[in-house]
Amino acid sequence: MKKLLLGNAAVAQGAYEAGVHFVSSYPGTPSTEITECMANYPADDVFVEWAPNEKVAAEAAVGAAIAGGRAMSCCKHVGLNVMADAIFTDSYIGVTGGAVFCVADDPGMHSSQNEQDSRHYARAAKIPMLEPSDSSDCLNFTKLAFELSEQFDTPVFVRLSTRVSHSQSLVEVGERQAVAVKPYEKNIPKHVMMTAMAKGRHVIVEERTRRLADYAATSPLNVREDNGAKIGVITAGIAYEYAKEALGDKVNYLKLGMVWPLSATLLRDFAASCDKVYVIEELDPFIENECRALGLAVEGKEHFTLLGEYTPAMIRKAVLGEDEPCCIRPEETIPNRPPVLCPGCPHRGTFYVLKKLGLTVSGDIGCYTLGAVAPLASVDTTICMGASISAAHGMAKVQGAEFNKKLVSVIGDSTFMHSGITGLSDIVYNKGANTVIILDNSITGMTGHQENPTTGKTIRGEATRQVDLVKLCGALGIEHVTVCDPFDLKAFEAVVREETARDDVSVIIAQRPCALLKSVKYEGHCEITDACRKCKLCMKLGCPAISVDESGAVHIDATQCNGCGLCIGVCPFGAIRKAD
């Protein structure tokens, strides 16, 4: 049956059809829906979970595969950095049941802090990598990835990009293949990676890569399309679709469905069949450099950028010299519309207070990164998951105690569970006196509401044990842990003042659920009364519902306002009230 599926949903369907038994992931745009979709399949067929972070997820999948099950773990490109420790050694261990790691890159950084190219991991970890171009490929490649994993005794990467993950296209959906979990067998030389065993395994890994390159020469994953043209294009993933639309049958194609390892024979043969060969790939010259290392005179990054996403028009211009179609331009500058904290967002209260107190804010990854945007402009740094706490530790140690009294870390509940706990133990152990604010909004917000170890629910919505953040901080040795509602601005400000002044490490848990959760019900909307003196203090909240017109009068847009009432507490003249 043909279905219109998101690339991510097609990966899930492919894994399901391949008989996957175990899926563990941490959410990250653009990979999140793979695991969400997996949870829509029967629990009797496949165990699916959100893990606290990508490393835990990958290790769990490695364990499941050693124990004979087919296992998968999915992440975004930066999540692969967190997974990497497990993956590099899993390459040596290999698998019993097939193991597939899906990684979704984000060229153009629609929702990411960097634009890294995950293909380098395939080469570095000596793990084969498949790269689908559309949803149909997503399904078929993922299925095949499990077969290859068992055939070659290796974990297999499936690399996606935003446009593949988040585009829907037609796929042929099939039945699940019943695959039994293989019996567990103790095998110390293969499963215990200590020096003597790892030396032996490394030999096998190198031999495996040679066999995989041989496989790549004839694999159906790599498709040659001969249009009798003089120009050849070597491409992969979404760039193939762009090239195909731009160039049609004016060129010959080598579409690489397997981007690592590459077959020298295949590349040489293709190049020899054309007068001129372009390598078209988003981000880094990964395939191009391999071609050049083989001595092939290909062209690539001298025509194409290292930055962002490609388009068919860009390719048409570079290869055929055709200009972009003319288009109608606006006569004036169009203001940008950057993302903002939602109306009713609990973080707004937190950042309003932090800004008011003039604190340095060591930030983290989540919706609350938007605390860096004007007018709140409160966040000073954002690096990676968990870095708000550890980076603040470093800041405090070099800048000293007085600086530290004007410094806080902000980190979400899910991010704290991901990799904030270790940073906090560093502060406790090494005699830091930082103040850490855990923004507990009862959910993993940014990626679209996933459960985590603090929410009390599993990915399938079942009730489960809940990590108690207060007790956890206490167990780490923190003596000052305060829970406070960031919408109670006066109380929250007092707590922040008290805890930052303290010569000891402290944690403030700013607790208020995400305004988009179904359980959160704010009533009606707010309005400005005649008592307004146009002081514009409410504008400092950066609420998208509040604006000032040309006359300086303040308005609240009823279609935007969700009635959270934070602005009522900010107004010194009592000029904001709930509308009847």
Binding site: K2, L4, L6, T29, P30, T32, E33, H110, S111, D134, R163, H166, S167, Q168, S169, L170, E241, Y242, K244, E245, A246, E309, T311, P312, A313, E324, P325, C326, C327, I328, R329, P330, E331, E332, T333, I334, P335, N336, R337, P338, P339, V340, L341, C342, C367, L370, V373, A374, P375, M446, T447, G448, M539, G542, P544, I546, S547, D557, T559, Q560
Partner: protein
């Protein structure tokens, strides 16, 4: 060159553009076309500009729509319509919800919202403006703005009325079905 039909849906995160693109995609496959729908998730959804591409025809390769390639731009907000203008073909059609949502740079005074944008747009391209909020309210829910706009656009496509209704029945949760069918009808008749 491709001869696909290219529709771009633009709006502000939270306006329900994703549901609109899913209804459109669903209707298109009922017609037996090849189709690709490209969405944006994540950070961009937090009140930022959102763009969805829907392309259909005999065979669709690239899921994205470049400058000068869109047959229809369905805009949920005026400024976003303006931003999407370069995507339209010279003879393309703009359907725009007559609603203004100020972006943060306008709210903070760092930038100005273009004045009389509807008049300027109408002067440049074939434009249909609709007060989708009023029609959605009439249908019974301000959240049905997206389906009102799909209704307005539906008339500009070769997809029959009943195919749209079937798709909406299958896409929308049962308890919101009545409101959404009404919203679609109001939009369709407006066009």
């Amino acid at each position: 060159m491709n001869n696909t039909r290219n529709i771009m849906i633009v709006g502000v995160g939270g306006q329900g553009t994703l549901l609109a693109s899913r209804i459109l995609g669903g209707a298109v496959i009922r017609m037996g076309y090849d189709v690709k729908v490209s969405e944006v998730h994540g950070m961009s959804q937090r009140g930022g500009s959102v763009v969805t591409y829907v392309k259909y025809g005999e065979k669709v390769h690239s899921p994205i729509i470049g400058d000068g390639e869109a047959d229809i731009v369905l805009a949920f907000e005026l400024l976003e319509a303006y931003r999407a203008l370069p995507a339209l073909k010279a003879d393309g059609r703009l359907i725009v919800n007559d609603q203004r949502i100020n972006p943060m740079p306008v709210i903070t005074g760092a930038a100005a919202y273009p004045e009389n944008s509807l008049d300027k747009l109408s002067a440049k391209v074939n434009t249909t403006a609709v007060d989708a909020l009023a029609l959605a309210t009439e249908a019974g829910s301000i959240k049905a703005v997206n389906v009102v706009l799909i209704g307005v656009m539906a008339k500009s496509t070769d997809i029959p009325y009943d195919t749209w209704l079937e798709t909406i029945r299958e896409t929308v949760p049962p308890k919101f079905l009545e409101v959404n069918l009404k919203a679609f009808e109001l939009g369709y008749n407006h066009a």
